[in-house]
Symmetry: C2
Subunit: 332 residues, 2 copies
C-alpha cells in the first residue's frame, strides 16, 4: 500500500514526518508519498539521514496554517500540501492519508475533495481514547456541533465498522453518551436517538452511558454530538494533565522522592503510554470514501509513526467498505 | 442560626447526620432541627453518644428513596422527611436546609415548596469542583437538560452571587463552557448566550472556556446547560477515579513500594482531600428563596459536616438576597 503524508502542515514541519516515514517503510514494507515543498522535504531527509527507499515526493508550494479559516482556505489555497494530498488520495495515487494540519480544514477538504460515502449526511471525527480497559472510540468528537438523531445513528455505524476493522472487536459495544442510564434520559436528541439505536440492525447497542463510564471503558464506541464530544474529550484531557502535574511535583521534590520514583518508573511509563496521544495515534475522519487520519498538530516522529500504523490498519481492515455497506441509501 | 437537616434520606440513615450535627453545634454555636422518624433519630443519638444540646427533632414518618419518582414523590409523600424539612424551611423554622436525598426530588421540592426567587425561570444545581487553583462552581450541573440563553444568563448571576458570598471572591470570573474559545463557537444556545453575557451588567464575563480549562481553574463560575454539565462533571469524576485506582495499585504492589509510598503520604492525602467530595461539600440548589444544600447520597459524618459548613456560609453571606437583587424582574 501507499500512504500519502501531508509533510508541511504539522507544527514541527517536515522533519518528524520524514523520520516516521523512513521507519514505517523499513518495518512494514509500504510506500509513502510526501506532499509539500520539495526543497524543505529534501532538506529534512538529508538532515535526518534516512534512506530514500519507498519515498516519493509530490510538489505543493503552499501550506494551510492553524489560523486559516477551514472552509475558505480549502477553496483558496489550491496548491497547499493538504489540498494536493487530498486530491492525490481522491484520484487513487495512494490508499490512505495522514495530516497533522488544521482539523477543520482537513474535515472540510475530506468532505469536498475525497467526498462522503453515498447516503452519509455528515463526516465525523472519531477520537481514540485510552481507558482502563483498552481503547474506545468517541464519535463525533467535534466536527458537528449540531446533530440530528439520524447523524448519530450513522456515527454508530461508522464507529462500529472502524473499531471492528482496526481493533478486531467482533461486535463493538455502542453506547449513547447521556446524562443518565435510564432510557428516558437526555434532551430530545438523545431520547430519539436511543429509540433509533435500539431498533437499528447491525449495531450492538448497550444503551445510555454516562461521563464516568468513559474512563472505565464501558463501551467500544461512544456516540454523541460534536459539541458534547469536544467538551467531554477536553475535560478528560484536562484532568489527565492535572494529575500528571501533581505526580511530577510529588516525585521531583527531593533526592529521596526521586529515588523512590525509580521504583515506579515502569508504572509511570505504562500510564503515560496508555494516556499519551503519541501512542494512541490520530483521529480518523469517518464517513468519507478513503481513510484519512488527523494526527495531533504538535506530532513528533513517534506520533506520526503511530498515526501511520493507524492508517495502515484503517486501509487493510476494509473498514471504509464496511461503512459503505452499512450506510448505503438503498439499504433502507 | 438554625440548620434544618433531613435526617432520613441519606444512604447511611440518621447516624452520620446526628454525629455531624453534634460536632457543628459544638464548634459553631448554631442550632439544628433534625427531621425524620423520632425513634430512629433518638436511637442514633444514643448510639453515637453525642450531646443533645442545640438539637430539636421534627417528626416525619415517611422517606423519599433514591428510586422514587422525583415529581410524584414530592406530591404524594407529604409526610416524608424531605417534604416536612422543606416546609419547615419555607415557613421560617430554620435558615438553611441540608439533605442527602434524591436530587431530582429535592430540586422539585425546593421549587414547589420553597419556591423560586421572583423573575427566576429555573432553579439550578451548582457543583463545587476542586481544581488546581482552588474551587470553582459549575452551574447547571444537571437540573435542566434543556436551557435557553436567558436561563444561562440567570445561572451566571446565581453563580456570581454564590461564589462572591461563600468564597469571598470579589468579582467571580464567569466562563461559558463551549467547544472553543472563539466568540462564534458553539451551537445556537452558546452563541446567543455569549452575546447576552458580554452585555450583561454585574457579570465579570471572561468569555468561552473549554473542557480542559476546568481542572486548571480558569474561571470561578462555569455556566452551561444541565445536559452538558452532567456529562462534564461525571467525566471529571471518572478520570479522577481511574487515576486513584492506578495510584493505589502502583503503591500496593509489594513491601518496597508500600514503604516508598509512605514518603508520598502527605501528597496523596492532599490530593485526596482536594478531590474528595466529602471535603468539597454539597451542591447548592440555586435560584430559590432559601439556602438548600444537596449533600452526596452516601455522605458520612465528615461529608455532612462540610455540607453544614457550606449551608452556614450560604446563609451568612446573604447570597440569596444578592441573587434576588440581580434577578428581580423590575430590574430589567
Amino acid at each position: 500500500m501507499k500512504i500519502i503524508l501531508d509533510a508541511m502542515s504539522g507544527d514541527l514541519g517536515p522533519r518528524p514526518v520524514v523520520e516516521a516515514a523512513a521507519k514505517v517503510i523499513a518495518e512494514k514494507h509500504i510506500e509513502v508519498m510526501l506532499v509539500g515543498k520539495p526543497d524543505a522535504i529534501e532538506k529534512a531527509i538529508a538532515e535526518a539521514g534516512v534512506a530514500r527507499d519507498g519515498i516519493s515526493i509530490k510538489e505543493a508550494s503552499d501550506v494551510i496554517t492553524m489560523e486559516d479559516d477551514p472552509t475558505s482556505s480549502i477553496r483558496s489555497k489550491k496548491d497547499s500540501s493538504m489540498v494536493v494530498a487530498l486530491k492525490a488520495l481522491s484520484e487513487g495515487e495512494g490508499d490512505a492519508l495522514v495530516s497533522a494540519g488544521n482539523t477543520g480544514a482537513l474535515l472540510t477538504g475530506a468532505t469536498l475533495i475525497v467526498k462522503r460515502l453515498p447516503g452519509v449526511r455528515r463526516g465525523a471525527i472519531g477520537t481514540v481514547i485510552p481507558t482502563g480497559e483498552g481503547r474506545s472510540l468517541l464519535i463525533d468528537s467535534g466536527a458537528n456541533a449540531e446533530c440530528t438523531p439520524e447523524y448519530l445513528v450513522q456515527f454508530a455505524h461508522m464507529g462500529t465498522a472502524y473499531m471492528a476493522g482496526t481493533q478486531g472487536i467482533e461486535k463493538p459495544r455502542v453506547g449513547l453518551l447521556n446524562n443518565g442510564t435510564e432510557e428516558h434520559k437526555g434532551a430530545p436528541l438523545q431520547k430519539e436517538t436511543h429509540q433509533l439505536l435500539k431498533a437499528e440492525a447491525g449495531i450492538h447497542f448497550i444503551g445510555n452511558v454516562e461521563g464516568r463510564d468513559l474512563a472505565a471503558g464501558a463501551a467500544d464506541v461512544y456516540v454523541c454530538d460534536g459539541f458534547t464530544g469536544n467538551l467531554v474529550l477536553k475535560t478528560y484531557e484536562g484532568v489527565g494533565m492535572y494529575f500528571s502535574k501533581v505526580l511530577k511535583t510529588m516525585f521531583k521534590r527531593n533526592v529521596l522522592t526521586m529515588l523512590a520514583a525509580l521504583m515506579f518508573k515502569k508504572d509511570i511509563k505504562d500510564l503515560k503510554s496508555r494516556m499519551d496521544y503519541r501512542e494512541v495515534g490520530g483521529a480518523p475522519i469517518l464517513g468519507i470514501n478513503k481513510p484519512v487520519i488527523k494526527a495531533h498538530g504538535s506530532s513528533d516522529a513517534r506520533a506520526f509513526e503511530t498515526a501511520m500504523g493507524q492508517a495502515i490498519r484503517f486501509h487493510e481492515s476494509g473498514a471504509v467498505a464496511k461503512m459503505a455497506a452499512a450506510l448505503a441509501p438503498d439499504k433502507k
